[in-house]
Symmetry: C2
Subunit: 497 residues, 2 copies
């Protein structure tokens, strides 16, 4: 049932362009809708079919820790668009259907209906691989059947969300205090620690490196201090490599060498890996991190496009491949893929994904502690690894003018190229209102600004919002001053305002 | 006692360069300290004398409404640096001394000690005019002696702050409810309305145009709605032109034509004008708005520099002169002036002020209402006035992912050049956490970004902070989409995330 490939946009009057999308979350659905919009704008016939093995579509994976914490009343609220809404917009959405084979020469996918077990071949002109990422679950967390040990679970999809709610409700219904262990000190680790503390668990966080390993260690240590202030027991430098179970098969503790951390519930925040098995079996090449490597038009091969967490992304300035599973990139890449596959444009006129800076943000809010964390661009160590001469500096400031009741401490670390004076990266750890300012830095880095440019910008000021010099700006100004006067490298003034 | 002018930096081994600064607030003290730092870095002798007619130095004028509201425990907290701290850093600071004359040929200022009445001549090599701005007080607000009518006052300096605290305490000690009228709907108007409501006053705001006239009227109307929701009586389109007083000489109401607005206390938020009398008397030319017109090196004439609110500023992109009295510009311009007067560099190598975008931010928080307001760049009308073809669009979004408890509405208006697609201006009105995002737009505009660039940027996302597409970004993306498809100009999708 295969068909010969067609060039999009050449088929006026002929059959519609057939598009298959594999995966119905952010990247896949963005691609599907953008393909429909682009085709409609061109008056071009298109048929978009999306296969999704789960029963979920367009949900917020990032919202799951907040569902677990009790901030979100129900898992349905995490669904941005329902299947019915997608279908009403013209997408042929097939839930519970897994794509089990891909023939990029014959331009056909083989699908299996997970309810009936039936297989079918489905021809396409263009396929979009949007298979997402899978959480890393180490062997020690699995039972004999290959499933997670009872009480242990990752935090990735809506099934995990539902499972966590059930596990917590059951544990909290018992007579004794519940102990939670979070393994991993990154974004999910921090957010699950928040969820555990807010649900009343005695919480331990165990991590191999410093907390928030995507920050410079000096800023990561500030996040750790905030966790500890909120009553979380934090153990850094411990590599969890096993667990014990009780007679009922439930976890009782995890272990790192000889050390044991008791817990009734264990959240795994150990990162994710691209789901790229389908692509690999089809003979498509994968990168070092196991992800697809589309070009900046999201094109992998003739008629094959890829977007989102199954891909490695191009870092904007260095051109390196990085793996940054995040909905923001998935959405943007999906749009690029959809526009390009339906646009009928030559490669040089296609839409392009602009690359990633590694911008990320999170928070820990529990037990009267409110710390926000954000970063963009390389850390000091990452910047040095590229062979640059790098200067970096931490500035202590406040989120508002110091005399305002809402003023909270805010540390900004700025990383710059000491020769070109280009701003490379910024990290923020601070109180309420501090972290979203990372976008000022992200915009500046995106547009190739020097620290001097940021120091001169007309940024907003009023006492409830900032000192007179915005903390990001003052940090850039101080680094610029230091680059002017290397001899003064140790000096640090106090913030204005 | 005058002296012949010297070229800075040519005097190694001779007497120190003599610098006089007129005014000891943000601009003046920034200039003074930067001149000292620059001279020290060069190993160049310098003597910096600052004359200030009041007894205050380096205070936050923007903090006064929050002092009045009761957020700030005392006026001393608004002083960023005390006189003693300035002196310890090497500034010869003379408080209570007014500069009453300036001879730019003889390079001399005439000063008068306000306690003793004594006059003296003080020679300089370079003078920095940093005389600030004065609040606009219309004739109807003045009594026969030229002072403000009792109960009526502007909101500009620490004397005003102290007066407001006294007036409020006295009024609130009385038996009946206190009625407050705010005349003017700009930043000070909004902030004094907040202060009045929070102090328990029955508050009326009267303004000639829509509330927040520096926004497009459709966004200004949103701010007005928030004020009304908090119980403020808002009258727009009324031009206050008189007042009545009681037998005790105190204000009882203000009037606009036949209309009367009763009030025991009347705050004037009618803007400010540059204090440039000294410069005018010295024969220096002033701009249309009455301010000094330094070049982007802050140079006015040979040996004469100016910085801060006594100046008209260059708008960054249009090159127009604008009057934007704000501490952020004062600080930056003061640094530029100080560096250049002490740096001994040729004009082409001097530091430059980068211009203003008109970035501004404020909020109204009272009676359970929390609205934040921010803007940067021209409004739609201002952009059209430059002869451009302009496109603008309002996007409704939320401050956090829609399912989070902290999600609040947030409107973003984007103004762009329809031909070049350059981002020109952005306005934000929304809930907690919305306004400081204006800096993302300000950075993008500063660096000449197109709306397409902002749409592609790697901005931060996590559910407590943003929908998947940041509201500023989604607004730019939608305007970019509209510019691609002019026929769809009326269409508005819903925000993602």
């Amino acid at each position: 049932v295969s068909s010969s490939p067609r060039t999009p946009g050449t088929g006026a009057g002929t059959a519609a362009q057939r598009v298959v999308v594999v995966g119905a979350d952010a990247a896949g659905m963005s691609a599907a809708h953008q393909a429909l919009r682009t085709a409609r704008a061109r008056g071009h016939e298109i048929a978009v079919t999306v296969f999704e093995r789960t029963s979920h579509t367009s949900y917020s994976a990032c919202g799951i820790p907040y569902l677990v914490a009790g901030d979100v009343a129900g898992a349905d609220l995490l669904v941005a668009r329902t299947a019915a809404e997608h279908r009403a917009a013209g997408v042929d959405l097939r839930l519970g259907v897994e794509v089990v084979g891909l023939d990029v020469v014959a331009r056909t996918v083989i699908v299996r209906d997970l309810r009936t077990g039936e297989r079918a071949r489905h021809p396409y002109d263009d396929v979009v691989l949007a298979t997402g990422a899978a959480p890393r679950v180490p062997p020690w967390a699995l039972d004999e059947d290959g499933g997670p040990v009872a009480g242990v679970r990752a935090v990735k999809d809506l099934y995990d969300g539902a499972a966590w709610l059930g596990m917590l409700d059951a544990a909290l219904a018992g007579p004794r205090p519940v102990r939670g262990v979070v393994v991993g000190g990154g974004y999910i680790g921090l957010e699950m620690a928040e969820a555990f503390v807010r649900r009343g668990l005695e919480t331990t966080l165990v991590t191999r490196r410093e907390v928030m390993g995507t920050l410079d260690p000096d800023l990561g240590a500030r996040v750790r201090a905030a966790l500890e202030e909120a009553g979380v027991t934090v153990r850094i430098g411990a590599d969890v490599d096993g667990l014990d179970t009780g007679p009922d098969g439930r976890v009782t503790c995890v272990s790192a060498g000889d050390e044991r951390f008791e817990g009734d519930l264990v959240a795994l925040g150990l990162g994710a890996r691209p789901r790229s098995e389908l692509a690999a079996a089809a003979g498509l090449s994968l990168g070092e991190r196991g992800g697809l490597e589309p070009d900046d038009r999201q094109r992998v091969a003739d008629g094959v496009w890829a977007a989102g967490d199954c891909c490695e992304h191009l870092e904007r300035h260095g051109g390196l491949r990085v793996f940054v599973p995040l909905g923001t990139h998935a959405n943007k890449q999906g749009r690029v893929a959809g526009e390009n596959l339906a646009g009928g444009r030559p490669p040089e006129a296609m839409a392009r994904f602009g690359g990633v800076l590694g911008t990320a943000i999170t928070r820990f809010v529990a037990n009267g502690v409110h710390v926000e964390v954000a970063r963009t661009g390389p850390t000091t160590e990452q910047a040095r690894a590229t062979g640059r001469e790098v200067a970096s500096l931490v500035t202590e400031s406040t989120t508002a003018s110091g005399y305002m009741p809402e003023a909270a401490p805010m540390a900004v670390k700025v990383v710059a190229d000491a020769v070109t004076r280009r701003l490379l990266g910024v990290q923020i750890v601070g109180g309420p209102g501090s972290a979203k300012r990372i976008d000022t830095a992200a915009a500046a880095i995106w547009l190739h600004a020097r620290v001097d440019d940021v120091a001169r910008m007309d940024l907003s000021y009023a006492p409830p919002f900032s000192p007179v010099w915005d903390p990001v700006q003052i940090a850039c100004r101080r680094l610029a001053d230091r680059l002017d006067r290397p001899a003064d490298a140790g000096r640090q003034g106090r913030p204005g305002g």
